[in-house]
Symmetry: C2
Subunit: 359 residues, 2 copies
């Protein structure tokens, strides 16, 4: 059922931050989209309202039993002023996959996408100009019912907030140092690693803190059962180019199915570069490096492509591609970001335009 | 540093619910304890204030990255009106263990315990009378900083709320049917299963829902690596009596170290009943049943002792102890609840009295 979205105008708009000082996730736009769920009447009362604090009971179940999921995507402004999204239907679908695993009621994907478009159009002046910038879109759902028994809640809130973001890597890509984690794990088969739920991120912080204290930018997670197979890096998926072929860990139920991951695979196929999804041991990666054939990069919404310059595993450290940006990493980065901001042709129909909506 | 706890009086007290209708986690008392953390000035502003909704930014990190931990303990009123807690220092210690794993700043355990005592004394009229009832105490901490980057937050809130609870099992214990889960897992070594963080509970709901749909009260979780070894049942620890000896899964980093679990072990030792902590396969349990020697019970704060009457694993179903309460389960239940409510001697010094505090 398509519902009417109510709009509440705010009196005074916020001052917009300088593009140069944006960073990530620090500023929020003037409006947000909100919708409520109650077991008795489903998702209801969709509205675009001024960005403002939420009021929650201290017993709201999210604080205690963590039913909380989210998505992350971006709106881009092209040179001619067109606003576009990148494969947003994949995020809507994954949001529902997360709902399913966390026992949260399903949302109407096309309705939410139209609500997001309406919100973005309302907030179009918040989309920053400038190389590498975008308007980050954060849809999220959490349980609100005040109750201390452990069970799925009967009440939820869905919000979409917008945050203008700066370029992830100033002027150009720069390779990162990665620590291969053996003590802590991110997720396990049968768990929730394949969906975007808040607990995955909370669980990852301890290892990330340890890695940073040792001078590494990110963690490379291994599988939890054998501590042997590569899963993801930080909050990105990971790709290896070995001997002219590209390989990325196969989705196994504990790896997040990234939208950028999927786009990289599609792009490589389109370019006729062999690409495989497979179970890859960290040992194989180190062996490939000894043969001198390795290029490594992460793929995710935040950085798009993140070249890896160093891998440190179990006291062994390897420098990859002389700590320089790999040719393939650079090519994929330019292609995907080019499509996202409308500078390159989009043979895949990945981009979705945000046109004026009747309010 | 011991800090002064500010007290804000409310104008009108709530009406107290009927003892008969209490249930669990539905009603909250008149006051709550609150304390805030900021990276620049640590934990500060401890206060007892009227129970009221919280105000949080939509970007508050708890909604997105799930840094949220909690504890659960109870206050009991003895026949002579004495108010007592059961081993609360164990909960304070475990709260800090949870803080550590989730990158949340440590709290001053003795200060928090004194604050809890002061809150309970203020709310003493909320401790229900009547067999099996208690005042449930829920301390919890979550991240409040508005920020969308993934890292430990710089701001947190600690609250303690109180909820009068009814008897878990009406008049007497009653055995429950348990489903041994093979598809979903609760936790894995290297993860967060050994601490009380919200994400563990969110992740458990899908399997619990499936079990309930099939007529089972609870899940028995197996280890995530081999799907073979017993971990915990629902949100309790589990014990097996086999051939006159008692065994419970050894704490391995994915099992929650329950306060009731520890108390059962101590009690059995005191009674000279052999008790072991060991790695136990589900296969061994079914084999023990074939030899006719099995008694099974769960142990946790909510139900104290929960006899298991049926186990269903992989299409095999066994009835335990003729679906009757085991002698040992009954004896432990009576001893622990007797100590908790001051009806029995407390040779372990487990109980802590809540005496008037200068406000």
């Amino acid at each position: 059922m398509q519902q009417e979205i109510t709009f509440f105008q705010r009196d005074v708009l916020k001052e917009k931050p300088d593009t140069a000082s944006l960073g990530f996730g620090k500023y929020y736009s003037d409006y947000m989209f909100v919708m409520d769920y109650h077991v008795e009447n489903g998702w209801h009362d969709p509205r675009i309202i001024p960005y403002a604090p939420l009021t929650l009971d201290p017993a709201a179940m999210v604080f205690h039993y963590g039913q909380a999921i989210f998505e992350g995507l971006k709106a881009y402004k092209s040179a001619d002023g067109t606003i576009q999204l990148f494969r947003p239907e994949k995020n809507m679908k994954r949001l529902n996959d997360s709902c399913d695993r966390l026992c949260i009621p399903q949302i109407d994907e096309s309705f939410l996408l139209s609500a997001i478009k309406q919100l973005i159009f309302t907030e179009k002046d918040w989309i920053p100009d400038g190389e590498g910038t975008s308007l980050y879109i954060r849809p999220f759902i959490f349980s609100t019912e005040p109750y201390l028994g452990v069970r799925p809640a009967n009440q939820y809130k869905l919000l979409v907030i917008l945050s203008p973001s700066g370029a992830y890597y100033g002027d150009q890509l720069s390779p990162v140092k990665i620590y291969v984690e053996e003590q802590y794990v991110r997720a396990v088969i049968g768990g929730v690693g394949h969906v975007k739920t808040s607990g995955n991120y909370a669980a990852s912080m301890k290892a990330q803190e340890k890695a940073e204290a040792n001078g590494f930018a990110q963690i490379l997670w291994l599988d939890a059962k054998e501590n042997k197979y590569v899963e993801e890096v930080g909050s990105m998926n990971i790709f290896f180019k070995i001997n002219g072929e590209v390989v990325t860990p196969k989705l196994n139920g504990s790896i997040l199915p990234g939208v950028t991951r999927d786009s990289v695979i599609e792009l490589l196929k389109y370019w006729n570069i062999p690409v495989h999804e497979a179970k890859i041991s960290i040992e194989e990666i180190f062996a490939a490096h000894e043969r001198g054939e390795l290029e490594v990069f992460g793929a995710g919404t935040a950085a798009v492509i993140s070249p890896v310059g160093e891998l440190n595993w179990n006291e062994r450290s390897i420098t990859i591609n002389d700590n320089k940006i790999g040719q393939l990493s650079q090519r994929i980065y330019e292609e995907i970001t080019g499509i996202q901001i409308g500078k390159k042709a989009d043979p895949f129909n990945w981009t979705v335009k945000v046109a004026p909506v009747e309010v």
